[in-house]
Subunit: 424 residues, 2 copies
């Protein structure tokens, strides 16, 4: 059979295949390694995967690509980011190094509200222009699908502007972008002390406006819906307030995501399970009874160790315990200007192996197939399986474990997005 | 006056200038920032530095380069590496994640002796070929001068092979490489239990052979001598043994460097000061009285936080206390296959800011001018000053602090080595 492209002779082709949903438990140790691997691609999708002998005897291609001495693996999926924003937070970074407290930083104008002010002041074109090079960096490091949250607007107009920036980038950038509405990211200054009234605004004004906006958008390439997320945290949004926002989103057809247990446990994981959220993210202080609930559910747990690293913390989410309990675990950068100015999924894998005791195989599955399931697109991307998009990396090493073992550089030589090389 | 090259309009040009030796104390906070900066280059050396108005009124150039929107800073100097080796240590990496002990790893064939076996088996051409891409990665991340140690040979022939590999790479690679003899890196298996006899071999056979070898080499471009180093550590080489090796090296004209206080304090810092070593490296457990001695000396203290990170450790050298005490502090990757598979000085800066409480300015000075002094080449490289080599970076940001604030990506857009772009 004749196909568009064959990639052959990979020292290792790792599929991360998982036909029945995200990987859990011991399956996380299996990356579906094929020695001397090959795959065939037709119209942007994978039509065959196997060893080079098998593939070459069944297919001929208009273009053959030799991956001798290289690893071929799925492109990374980064399922939790705040990569659209204006400004930076360098002053805050220096204050933190000098030992100033969170409250002092907030009082001097830092924190999420600092990004909010810069983002509110930015027209959509500026947001697009400032974000594009960050997406380029992520792509250069091997990411092929990215979730992006709003939440630096915190008023209806500015939240819609952020959504529009994501939509514009989605059309003009080679990465697949998946949008999440996070109006409930923080309480803006005009609602200081009136959290409940701000929740009213999110539920009664923002969400309907987002629905109207989203109904006018063309369907997403990956078939992903718009998600609705909330920052369930002490001094931000309570469990009840979070529930109200997420249920209002679900009524409009926006599946739920939730930030839970970053600093204090408010029962966000049990809420995620109760609501059937697609993912629950952070999990730094989740108690074992909620870990057990999560393991029994279809909700993916997403951990974000670049945040702990960025804060110079010695505490990291116990991702080892999450996997051992049977949670479907994913990794993500959380790239944002305050708590994680980090575009790199490989560095997140390196962190997870060192401070969360994941083996390289577990870190890779958590950065590909499970991350795709954290976005509801595990049927389209996240693994090299027949019928999926040919989103893949050619990595300059002969063993996938180098991706997590080496750190600080970039082993990703070429990035293919639907059969087209977008890097290399 | 007519010159070869002018670089102009840099949003920030940071010189890291320090005419009187390495920076200490509050001087570490000064990176010599020039807004709208420029510099003029003739025959590979810097002939003028200033703001763009000044430089453009005094010089014309055969080639002008516009650095609008960019930072220009000195190339990084990486003063402590083991980047020449064969093989990898991925199996050991996985054993460590699984919680196996150092002894178990050693017994299964891991550790320095694992790299020794692979390196002994490698002819010089293989060492050169395996090392070259690592140097390429370092260069792509902004490093322009690199120290490289022997110490995976551990017999006279293999140590000389490593030196030859460094010499060969020095000729064929654009980076400036500075060699250090580290025969006393570990006790090889054939001397197990006979450390004193191995020290005899180092002193009586290896060092004279290294002297003979080095006398035949052309003078180094940067005027750097060959250094002699030793791993002064519990169960490796005692303080007395270390002293014997370093003094024997000094007798032959090899200035001393020393690995001290990585795991246990044996008084290596006081030995470094006593012998007038050019640097003392690691300093993870140095007691305050030795910190005070170091601060009073000309010896540069080098800390290596990528090692602590790689081991998933929560303990880091107290670099903040070292600076506050007045030590001339430098940073380095320690790139090696076991404890730091990391080519990136920017990631080391990011680590130092987060886990050692350095401000970005301190981290940058520690990675440039002070690192150059840790190699005795502070008069030639490490800062953008008149008379020095034009080794510089064009960084894709408008504030040098981004180099440490962002992490995991690579902001270094172009790398100039003596007026020639070797990246970008």
């Amino acid at each position: 059979m004749k196909v568009d492209v064959i990639i052959k002779n990979a020292d290792q082709l790792v599929t991360c295949a998982s036909p029945d949903g995200p990987k859990r438990g011991l399956a996380m140790l299996d990356v579906g390694e094929i020695q001397n691997g090959a795959l065939a691609i037709e119209e942007g999708d994978i039509v065959a995967v196997g060893n080079t002998g098998e593939i070459m005897s069944a297919y001929t291609a208009r273009e053959e690509l030799d991956a001798s001495g290289k690893v071929v693996c799925p492109g990374f999926v980064d399922p939790h980011t705040h990569v659209v924003y204006a400004g930076d937070r360098i002053a805050e970074f220096e204050m933190r190094i000098r030992g100033q407290s969170y409250v002092e930083i907030m009082e001097s104008g830092g924190g999420i509200l600092s990004s909010m002010r810069a983002t509110r002041a930015a027209p959509v074109g500026q947001l697009v222009a400032e974000t594009r090079p960050r997406l380029d960096s992520m792509l250069a490091l091997g990411t092929t699908t990215v979730e992006i949250k709003t939440g630096y607007g915190l008023d209806t107009r500015s939240e819609l502007t952020m959504l529009q920036a994501i939509a514009d980038l989605s059309v003009s950038h080679p990465l697949d972008l998946i949008a999440t509405f996070l109006g409930a990211h923080s309480v803006p200054p005009e609602y200081a002390g009136q959290t409940e009234a701000y929740v009213d605004l999110v539920v009664e004004e923002m969400l309907p406006a987002v629905k109207t906006w989203s109904d006018k958008q063309p369907p997403h390439a990956l078939g992903a819906p718009l998600f609705c997320d909330v920052f369930c945290e002490a001094n931000v949004f309570s469990r009840e307030q979070s529930k109200r926002v997420l249920q209002a989103g679900q009524m409009l057809g926006f599946p739920a995501k939730i930030h839970a247990d970053e600093f204090e446990n408010l029962g966000g994981v049990s809420l995620a399970v109760e609501l059937g959220a697609i993912s629950v993210d952070h999990l730094d202080v989740t108690p074992s009874h909620e870990v057990a609930q999560l393991a029994q559910s279809d909700t993916v747990g997403v951990v974000l160790p670049a945040v702990n690293f960025n804060l110079g913390s010695h505490h990291f989410a116990d991702a080892r315990a999450l996997i051992d309990a049977g949670v479907a675990l994913a990794l993500s950068t959380d790239i944002n200007p305050g708590s994680a100015p980090c575009p790199s999924m490989p560095l997140v894998m390196a962190l997870a192996c060192r401070y969360q005791h994941l083996l390289p195989a577990e870190a890779l599955n958590a950065s590909t197939i499970n991350a795709a399931h954290a976005l509801g697109v595990g049927h389209k991307v996240g693994s090299l399986e027949v019928g999926k998009q040919a989103d893949l990396l050619i990595v300059d090493c002969n063993d996938y474990r180098h991706l997590a073992y080496q750190f600080g550089g970039n082993l990703v030589e070429r990035v293919m997005k639907r059969s087209r090389f977008v890097k290399g």
